[in-house]
Amino acid sequence: MSVDVGVLARARARARVLGAVAVPVTAPVPSGLSGVPDGDRVWLLPVWPDGATPAVLEQYETPPMPLDRAGQQRRVLAAALRCCWTRLDDAPWPGEAAPVADVLSVYAHLARGDADLARRWATGELRRLTDTGWLLLDEDAATVRTGPRTAQWPAETLASLRDLLRRLPGPEPLHA
């Protein structure tokens, strides 16, 4: 039993190092990690006590890891959600794949200045959001989906996000 605990602790620690890790759906999900199913694979994500999220830090005036251009990254995430989370009554995960071009055209409403530059910044943010499990970018197909981390959002905290996405203008009809 104690050996088992050590192995489990290691598996949970590994999930912290690697961020979101996917394993085949046939593989067992180590207890103490949440398995977010995704077709033939399962994403392993950390479990936090009592459903808390890192947002708790705010209540204690404790800064989280600084994030470069956090606002821009979150606006790109919002644009992606606008395109991928189409059935807003459901949970954001797993969402649907949407063309990157659609996401960029939604994002254009949220950015100012040189349009080409904004698109390129946004593309960079799509990649970073994919690295951290918030989105899944398929560069070959030029599509994007919501990432497994959105499954960690407590359901009851999503009302304002849903409102926002309802208001947000959709992608240019050209691509619809």
């Binding site: 912290r16 190092v17 690697l18 961020g19 979101a20 999220t53 890192p54 947002a55 989280p64 890891m65 994030l67 956090a70 606002g71 821009q72 990254q73 979150r74 606006r75 995430l77 919002a78 959600l81 063309p99 990157v100 071009a101 996401v103 960029l104 409403h109 949220l110 950015a111 100012r112 200045g113 349009a115 080409d116 530059l117 698109r119 390129r120 593309t123 951290t132 499990g133 918030w134 560069e139 030029a142 981390r149 959002w153 905290t157 999503l158 304002s160 996000l161 409102d163 926002l164 947000l168 240019e172 050209l174 691509h175």
Partner: protein, 406 residues
Amino acid sequence: MSPARETAGPAAASLDDLLEGEAVLGVYRQMFAALARDSGAVVDDPALVDVAETLLAAFADAGEDGLSREQMRHVCRRYPAEVFENRLRVLRGLGAIREVFPKPHQLRYRASFTSVVGLMFVRRMMLDGGQSEMHRLLALEQLNVADPRMTAAQARAGADGLARAFRLWSVELLTLTHGTIEELREQAPKLWGSEEIMLRAERLHGAVLRRWPELDRSCTDLRAALYAYGDASRRAAARLSDSAGTTRNLTLLPPETWRTFARTATRDELAAVLDGFVFDAPAPWHESSAVVAAVADAPRAVPARPAPPRASAPDRGLARDVGAATAEDDRLREVAEEVLRGRDRVDVRAVLTGGWPAARRLLADLSAAHLHPGLPYRLVWADGLKADPSGSPTWLSSGTFERHPR
């Protein structure tokens, strides 16, 4: 210096002996003149040695004309007059500075070569407490042993001297090892032997024994002293290693060793240091309310943009699919901003540092950015080249790369 005087000879010495004794004392006095407070004792303020060094350096520059008294005072002008006078008196008294009369009624001064050598030796000892001096001594002895003119007596004297030095070092190290950790940390690197010193000493020992088997007793002594020293070094190192703290033991390598490592190590050698280290990478958390807030704070494009003409062209979106020309502009902009790093101008020489091929590529990019009408950068060249034979590239024009307001 009084022990030297005692060994200078008994009363019944011949005139030759006396002269030789005086000559030896003369060398001693000159060697340590820089450290002498007055003719009878060593300085009690290190700044006094600086005066001597300043003077000796000025003499070296002056050449065979030497210096006049006024010139000496001038180079020592930052020292108080009485300090200068005192130093001059002592240095003259010990023969480090001599009066010469190149012409009648003209008084000049010259410096002694021995004093400069002595001072160099002293400075080196102060820098690393005899470590590198020991390297030099061992290297010299090794040469001597190979010299056909070397006699067995000389070899024995050399071996005995080294054995004494190693024994004294062991004693001092062991005393330190049993003392406070702070003192040990400060003193040990000046005293303990690196593996290289031990290797050299053992090699020397082997060479002496091969050439003069009859010196086996001296060699046994040297070997014992060497082992004792190695053991004392290990003990000191073990005690320090056991009380390492987080970074304290980094003081135990001299800064130059660290610089050399940083300068010469390959990528893999550098990376190997952190082999086996795992660092945290907690992914950023975007609370859903933070996403909402970010959109609310968006720098909205106030006048709704009229649809730009090219928006009708289908665009698959990713960077590599965007027109090649704009991609190139963007790359140049990236290169330029990378070079400027938030500043408005940089010295071109300061950024062209990555070896010639890399420098040439970067220069080409900076020139392209300069020539590009749509990009707010320019290269401004000044006259003149700066050559740096050790650098790469070895020469560079001086110029600046700057941002200009559009």
